[in-house]
Amino acid sequence: MTKKTIKDDHPSSFVGLIDVISGRKNVDPELHRRLESVRQLLVAPKTHEGPFLTVLVRTQGRRLEPLKDALLCLAGQTVQDFEVILLEHNATKDAAREVRAIVDRLEPEFGSRVRILEVKGGTRSKPLNAGVHEARGRYIAIYDDDDLVFADWIEQFRDTAGTDGDRLARAVVANQVVVPEIWPQGQSGFRTASWPNSEYPKTFDLLQHMLVNYSPFMSWAFPRALFFTYGMRFDENLTVAEDWDVILRGSLLLGVDDVPALTAIYRRWVGGESSYTSHDTESWRASEQAVIDRIDEHVIMMPVGSFNAMRRMVLYNTALDNYRFIFNGTSLRRPLNWAWDAVRPGFRVAVKVRNRIRRLRAR
């Protein structure tokens, strides 16, 4: 692998905060010196001998044809400066054998960059942490075995993040409906049933993402520093939402650069198994709440522009509060309350349906 020098042209949010404090005219010289020392530690040029990207592909060996597609998409990348770690999680013996047969058949040069890492037990986070531990890339991207990436997936990450940044890079992903189907030669395949729908926000908005995850895993390239400098890991206590957790904590700590391109397709299975169908609503709710609670336990940094955005939210909320008196009962407001009582059950159902649709879209 080529050695590249890590420079200081994509400072993270954390480094940005240090710059704000140490840049003040009247800052204590000793604090300034120590902050600069920390800054140097974080941004000082260092050599990295690994590839630009490590791609972690999770598989249980249950969807072999989609896994072949996922690997084919990687073989077709315009930038080949990457390695692949196939995270074989809780695969049965037969499934593991099938996965090995698929890897053995890869074109030799590409196949030489694909490693299988067997992981037993634990939640969906366990193989990810095992993969991170083994990753040699300057960035780490995660890609499930049933998803697709376009030829410029890695090229766009590289062009946006550079080879040296410490910020997360986020591209746009489309959703596409697939239906399980047996193929003419007997393989357990699928039928693609929709055009890729680019329904997620085109640029990253941290405040929006605090409500729900609008960015599937393949949207992201995580800088190595997130895991090896700042010590972050996937939360193995979470049964689901492990992606949302690291996306939120990572973006709060380091910041995000937008990749101005649609570079991947998330396959939404209809009539098949997915993380949504494999875990019940309670599991999702508990995991999401755990993500929120942990972030809420700590001080957080918000990106530039957040103060105005949050002011607008508070303003809007305050305005709503000012009109809530209409629904608080006195005899004068009683007719309104009666009307509200009449429509409230329907309103609640509508809100639940809307929220469910949002969650489905988000996963």
Partner: protein, 298 residues
């Protein structure tokens, strides 16, 4: 049990990068290796036809490519056409350079999956005249029957066809089609000769197609023009004067340079008497569904 057959893989180059062709060739050779191991392919050759203004390869730069092909028991042919023949005429020119039982029509930069050649060779049996690969990451939306794969037409981004059928229909109609619809026409010609056209989803091929950030298809100028022109010519050839009239009217109303140029080209050929003789008068094979040539799934 399908017996081993000989295969010629044909690609028509136009301003491709040598690196892309080398990568595609490595993927192809790997796929052939497994098809040969499965005793589906015997002798094989890769025939590259170069339509670029200046040749993509020299004899020296071709050497590594030749080594890759020969290491897997194949032979490599590289023909510099010296002119942009278009894909249809290019493939017609390449076909006589081999005498194999099967032909794989392949986009030069498309990368076949390891088991693609195996799956295609298994699909091209009996009355099947051509089998189309499933393109990744953007799959063609044509409808196909679940159990048989039977479909209206096969895209030749990556499709395997029987030489016997190719010869029977006279190859691609290069006199009529330059860039688009030559594969639709070829498929329908095969069907008129009693062959079946199938889509084989197990044969995947990576074709570098991309979408805009809003998920739209970014059609280029050449695609807009040549597909508009081909649409009129295909409707004419398959005895649908009603569609020809409708397209001409729509293009005239559209008024864009590409639409007007396509209409002018059709009128020019009509006046010169160089339009193809209409076939399929009973409308047995041709399907015109909205602006498509098959029912689409989406």
């Amino acid at each position: 049990m399908v017996e081993a057959r000989s295969l010629a893989v044909q690609s028509v180059l136009y301003r491709n990068s040598a690196e892309d062709i080398e990568r595609a060739t490595r993927a192809l050779t790997n796929s052939v290796r497994w098809a040969r191991a499965d005793r589906l392919i015997s002798d094989w050759t890769l025939q590259l036809g170069d339509c670029s203004p200046s040749a993509v390869f020299t004899e020296t730069s071709l050497a590594p490519l030749r080594a890759v092909v020969e290491a897997e028991g194949g032979t490599l042919g590289y023909t510099v056409f010296g002119a942009n023949l278009g894909s249809a005429a290019g493939h017609n020119a390449l076909a006589p350079l081999s005498s194999t039982q099967l032909l794989l029509i392949l986009n030069p930069d498309a990368q076949v999956a390891p088991d693609a050649i195996t799956a295609l060779a298994r699909a091209v049996v009996g009355d099947v005249g051509i089998a189309e690969s499933r393109q990744v990451p953007l799959e063609h939306p044509k409808y196909f029957e679940a159990n048989t794969g039977t479909t209206s037409w096969a895209s030749t981004a990556c499709a395997m066809t029987v030489r016997e059928g190719f010869d029977k229909v006279g190859g691609f109609d290069s006199a009529t089609f330059f860039l688009y619809c030559d594969d639709v026409d070829y498929s329908w010609q095969l069907r008129l000769h009693g062959y079946r056209v199938v889509f084989e989803p197990a044969a995947a091929v990576f074709h570098d197609k991309r979408l805009t950030i809003t998920g739209d298809w970014p059609a280029g100028d050449a695609e807009i023009y040549y597909s508009a022109e081909a649409a009129i010519l295909l409707a004419h050839k398959y005895s649908r004067p009603d569609i020809v009239r409708s397209l001409v009217a729509r293009y005239t109303k559209d008024g864009s340079a590409a639409a007007l140029k396509a209409t002018a080209e059709y009128r020019k050929r009509k006046a010169a008497g160089t339009l193809p003789t209409p076939v399929d008068r009973a409308h047995k094979v041709a399907e015109f569904v909205k602006d498509n040539y098959a029912v689409h799934r989406f």
